[in-house]
């Protein structure tokens, strides 16, 4: 063990840390696909999968919006409204960024 500790403390330690992070991240990227390929798609699993993308999106943005205060919440609402009106991502992005920049410039 002390041989490994010495090696990790040496010049290759950082490269080893990056390798471990790379493997951990790749396992996250690949394991969902691998896991689901072994799951039989019953109607129940299909319903769960259908709910998953929107659930990931909502679970990601709600807490971040709350953390970001009024400008973030208004910006996300502006983006959703713009997207529902024109169905064009760039317009939604510009609407959201514009509202956030304006409100932040206004000191909110």
């Amino acid at each position: 063990m002390s041989g490994i500790s010495e090696w990790i403390a040496g010049p290759w330690g950082a490269a080893f840390a990056i390798l471990c992070m790379t493997i951990a991240t790749y396992l996250c990227r690949a394991s969902g696909v691998v896991l689901m390929s072994h799951v039989t798609i019953t109607p129940r699993v299909e319903r769960a999968l259908r709910a998953l993308p929107g659930s990931i999106v909502v679970a990601t943005i709600l807490p971040l919006a709350l953390d970001g205060g009024v400008p973030a919440m208004a910006g996300l609402v502006a983006a959703i409204v713009a997207m529902s009106l024109v169905r064009f991502e760039l317009a939604a992005l510009l609407a959201g960024l514009g509202v956030i920049a304006l409100l932040r410039a206004g000191g909110l």
Binding site: T22, C28, M36, P53, V57, T60, L66, R87, A92
Partner: protein, 234 residues
């Protein structure tokens, strides 16, 4: 051996389409990668280490947090710590992969392995939207991921060498581009109030976990709760 008839297409045109879908995100990706490069210098990383993180880990939030626990001299314990932090932050990718698995199920193993290396929030979202509207060309997912990878790695370099190019990205809201992009994507995913009930569960659980647990656990907890609610509520 022949490709199954129901294998989805993987075309060059699809790759270009995916690359084009990433365009609105370029400014924020460049600024973010830039900020990572600049922060890496301050934490004492070599150029090779900073570029290695961007090229191989290729996950912005976890790269930033890794800098917080970066060491001049490593021990097995600190390597384990930085690996654990990385895995926890990127655990959301497990669910993203699960969500697109039906689309990728018939893909050849090697191509899937490479495609999944490039999986990030942005190209997952682009692919999900495209797939939800009936698109099947897996090249779209790959093209978007490859484009984001090139930009992310390339934009890390000037940040490391020259420092941050945009000193106050928050002024322009650039810190919130990905949440905005996520929010806009709710519209193409919207299929009415009934299918959106699990989303409400996901949101409530995410808010609760966010209030109680530090870090990014709220994404995985909320998303799992939403999937579970979907299975039960239908």
């Amino acid at each position: 051996m022949h490709a199954p008839l129901d294998r989805p297409p993987f075309t060059l045109a699809g790759c270009w389409q995916g690359a084009r879908y990433t365009l609105p995100l370029w400014p924020s990706i460049i600024v973010f990668a830039n900020a990572f490069g600049a922060a890496a210098v301050q934490k004492g990383l070599t150029l090779e280490q900073a570029m290695g993180l961007s090229a191989f880990v290729f996950a912005g939030a976890s790269q930033m947090v890794a800098l917080e626990v970066w060491q001049a001299t490593w021990t097995p314990a600190t390597v384990l710590a930085v690996t654990t932090v990385t895995a926890v932050i990127n655990a959301r990718m497990i669910l993203m992969g699960a969500a697109i698995q039906p689309w990728l199920a018939r893909e050849p193993l090697g191509r899937n392995a490479l495609n999944l290396f490039l999986l990030t929030d942005a190209n997952w979202l682009i692919g999900t939207r495209y797939n939800a509207e009936g698109g099947r060309d897996v090249g779209v997912l790959f093209g978007a991921g490859a484009t984001l990878w090139v930009i992310w790695v390339a934009a890390t370099l000037p940040g490391y060498l020259l420092g941050s190019l945009v000193p106050e990205p928050k002024r322009f809201g650039l810190d919130l581009v990905l949440p905005i992009f996520f929010a806009a994507m709710l519209i193409p995913l919207w299929k009415g109030w009934r299918p959106a009930r699990p989303w409400a569960v996901a949101g409530l659980v995410a808010l609760a976990v966010h209030a109680l647990v530090p870090g990014y656990a709220f994404i995985v907890a909320g998303a799992l709760a939403g999937a579970l609610a979907g299975a039960i509520l239908g």
